[in-house]
């Protein structure tokens, strides 16, 4: 009796255990049973992809491994970073200079990996600053910001930094129409329609060095440019931009910029624009913008303020720009790998219009216009339309491609990713996101050659997905497997700031691109480098004191410094003498009103310190460097202003008693 009872219980228990044990409970049905093993990268093994993720209002770029979702690095770009000294060291301050001086923060939205023949080439990644319009280039051998260029005549640099298929140009369209810097800017805001214009910048990129140069700008009607992508393959030579606020409203845009049934996708024939520029049709306009470059041999940034820009009035030239009507304030503007289909995501629409490049070219040839918009021809919707994806979801935002004829579109309002067939426009699959997805990314998914396999959704809201952390919760990424017919959710991982657009490349493409391990100290041309301890010294020039210091495991030279006075302006020029991978040293001074320095092997960096108190001030290395790291420290004697303690410095020997008076 007892046995039978136990057996019955056993059978029930066994049955329910089998069912429940293999079904993860809290993640719902969305996660398949083998998700954990598909994202597990064993200790010491590498991820399959590098994923570069915009940092949004952090101003930086983060780097993750896929499929693990492990964060490997945050690259400081537009915001100061006390951890690395970016924007605090004397050498890096010029990198954040603008036409209105040093700016410590920005809002980083979109990233684009450099391409050759439309394929990701792993050399550089470009980043936009949305608030103070700028474009940065990050060198992927060093994972360091190498260049930042400011954009004149712009405000809200949103539709950037998208590139042409050989990285000939990076483009940047202004989000806000504003009077140009060369126009009269002091005008009533309600004269928007009369005085506000929008500019799109074409930044030339040097093939070898990657160095950027603001080549020309197009002057356009005062609409809001939102996103863009270059044509590729057959449509190489064209650029496509979504624009909203064709109403040209200047207040309560939420309502007033949502009046028109259709706004536009603007197609720009940039090769034609180049011809006009060559023919001298551009006009040099006065402006001011900063162009900041980093030199790896002097380890120093330089900021140059430029005062002219070449502007081509696209409204006067009738055959550079064409407008394709696009429903309801379009956001994403995505071109499929063949270059034939242009997907406009009307963020307030319940359908996705897909335009045909071939049809567009034909319509332009036949002048199949329905009218013009401030001088720009408007093509007929039905003449350029490939078709509409019907009832795909609510609030389409962005689309990426897998290279197999499928498109994947995010829906912010209905929190989902929808897979559809580009040619037949049929919806094939849909998966929920948690929650309110913005951008999505497939490795190489906006290039000619997507790598497929994974899709990452970048969500605006996480609500209940993570342990609560007060009013502010993390934002997140969600990894999906797209190798089969159905998309499968594999992993959630938190992100820094707010993730917008992202890029990814196969790990080998980046890690075999000639990754730099150290800076060769022989090539260090910093004007105040100390190549070896014998070159270390302390030099007073009036109230300025220059300390030429070295660091090596595990001491500074010199480490006893006297003769510093209250009111002095002290510069520590510190050279890391190490020539070994992964051995940076840090440097910090008690109560210095700045961040630490984190100095790479072979690099020289400078910390400025203005002592305001008499006493002994210790300094130390902040980056655990060896078993004797705690010993890596030193002392500075600060005497009163007007004191006659002479400058003296030493390492390893106590100073003579005479110097201690």
């Amino acid at each position: 009796m007892k046995n039978k009872f136990v057996q019955a219980i056993l059978v029930i228990a066994l049955g329910s255990a089998l069912v429940s044990s293999c079904k993860p409970k809290n993640s719902g049905d969305a996660v398949s049973g083998d998700a954990a093993q598909r994202v597990y990268v064993a200790p010491g093994k590498y991820d399959e992809f590098y994923n570069f993720v915009s940092g949004g209002f952090s101003g930086q770029m983060s780097v993750y491994g896929l499929p693990s979702g492990r964060m490997m690095k945050v690259v400081p770009i537009f915001s100061v970073d006390p951890e690395s000294g970016w924007g605090f060291s004397e050498e890096t301050k010029p990198m954040l200079n603008t036409s209105e001086g040093f700016i410590p923060w920005d809002d980083q939205h979109h990233l684009e990996l450099s391409q050759t023949n439309g394929e990701v080439d792993g050399r550089w990644i470009f980043a936009n600053a949305n608030n103070t319009p700028r474009i940065a280039r990050v060198d992927l051998k060093r994972f360091k910001t190498s260049e930042i260029i400011e954009l004149p005549n712009s405000a809200g640099n949103h539709s950037s930094p998208f590139i042409t298929e050989n990285t000939e140009y990076v483009v940047a369209g202004t989000r806000f129409g504003v009077p140009g810097d060369y126009d009269k800017g002091d005008v009533p805001i309600n004269t928007y329609k009369e005085n506000f214009k929008a500019h799109i910048s074409f930044i030339k990129v040097d093939k070898e060095s990657g160095k950027m140069d603001l080549s020309f700008q197009l002057r356009l009607p005062g609409v809001n440019f939102d996103l863009s992508h270059a044509g590729k393959g057959k449509s190489h030579g064209w650029f496509f931009f979504t624009c909203y606020n064709s109403e040209q409203a200047n207040t309560l845009l939420e309502v007033n910029a949502s009046q028109n049934d259709k706004d536009f996708i603007m197609a720009v024939n940039w090769k034609k624009a180049e011809e006009y520029i060559k023919a001298g049709k551009g006009k040099i306009e006065k402006t001011k913008y900063a162009h900041n470059t980093w030199n790896d041999e002097t380890h120093t940034g330089t900021s140059v303020i430029k005062d002219e820009v070449l502007v081509l009035d696209a409204m006067a030239m009738k055959d550079i720009c064409y407008l394709m009507p696009c429903p309801k304030s379009p956001h994403g503007c995505d071109v499929d790998p063949t270059g034939e289909y242009i997907v406009g995501s009307g963020k307030l629409a319940a359908l996705i219009p897909v335009f045909s490049f071939d049809k567009m070219v034909k319509a332009i040839g036949k002048k199949d216009y329905e009218g013009d918009y401030e001088g720009i021809p408007v093509l007929k919707y039905n003449s350029v339309l490939h078709g509409e994806v019907q009832k795909p979801g609510l609030g389409p935002l962005h689309t990426e491609f897998d290279g197999k004829g499928n498109a994947y579109t995010t829906f912010f309002v209905s929190s989902e990713v929808v897979k559809w067939d580009i040619k037949t426009l049929k919806v094939l699959d849909r998966v929920p996101t948690y929650y309110s997805v913005g951008h999505l990314m497939i490795p190489g998914g906006d290039s000619k050659k997507p790598f497929g396999k994974y899709l990452v959704a970048y969500n605006k809201i996480t609500k209940d997905r993570y342990l609560p952390t007060g009013p502010e919760l993390t934002q997140s990424a969600q990894l999906y497997d797209i190798s089969g017919d159905k998309m499968k959710l594999l992993l959630d991982f938190p992100t820094i700031g707010e993730p917008h657009y992202a890029q990814a490349a196969p790990a080998d493409l980046i890690r075999n691109n000639g990754q730099l391990k150290i800076y060769d100290i022989k090539k260090n041309n910093h004007p105040r480098v100390a190549k070896g301890e014998k070159e270390t010294k302390v030099v007073r020039e009036g109230n300025k004191v220059h300390v030429y210091m070295t660091m090596v495991r595990s001491h500074f030279s010199p480490d006893n410094i006297e003769g510093i006075k209250v009111g002095d302006d002290v510069y520590f020029h510190i050279t890391n003498l190490e020539q070994d991978w992964d051995v940076p040293h840090g440097f910090s001074i008690r109560r210095a009103q700045t961040a630490e320095l984190l100095i790479m092997p072979g690099e020289t960096a400078t910390l400025n310190w203005k002592p305001s108190k008499v006493g002994i001030v210790p300094f130390y290395c902040t980056d655990f460097c060896s078993a004797l790291h705690q010993e890596m420290s030193g002392y500075i004697r600060v005497s009163p202003a007007g004191s006659n303690v002479p400058i003296s410095y030493s390492l390893g020997t106590n100073l003579p008693a005479s110097s201690t008076k």
Binding site: V6, L10, A13, L14, A17, L18, S21, C22, G33, D34, Q37, R38, Y40, V41, G44, K45, Y46, D47, E48, F49, G65, P506, A507, D508, R511, I518, D520, I521, K522, K531, G532, E533, K534, T550, V552, R553, S554, H555, S557, L577, E578, Q579, D580, W581, V583, S626, A627, L628, G652
Partner: protein
Amino acid sequence: MNKSILLVLSLALAVACGKKEASAEDNYQPGGGEATTEAAADPASYDPKRGEGKYDTVELGATLDQAMATKGEEVAGVKCASCHKTTDEKLVGPGWKGVTERRTPQWIMNFITNPDPMIDKDPEVQAQLEICLVRMPNQGVSDDEARGILEYMRKNDGVK
């Protein structure tokens, strides 16, 4: 009885999920490759006279090559002198006085250009590490530079 129920239950659970778990390695094919790990070498093959590295023999002149020694001194000033004195006094690492008499030229050249594997294998270096506690860093010294340093060490040891 109770124990056997638990056993059966846990076995059943293991079987139910085991299929999926066991295939973790098969399913995951990292395109990015694996982290490099040092191949475990047979310590018996380590030659403490030669060290480990690309140098089997190093040709030394009967007399000092002054120019080479001067170049070596320059390099040592940047890359070595922070830790090594030219006397027999220990700084971070041991002083250089007499090093060319204690070590073969190939050992010195191998150690300068390939320190990490030798720190792991050489019994005398390991004993030294217990005293110094700082691993000698790989300072990215080229072959020419290393040869210069060796010549400078010879000069320091009185070779004319």
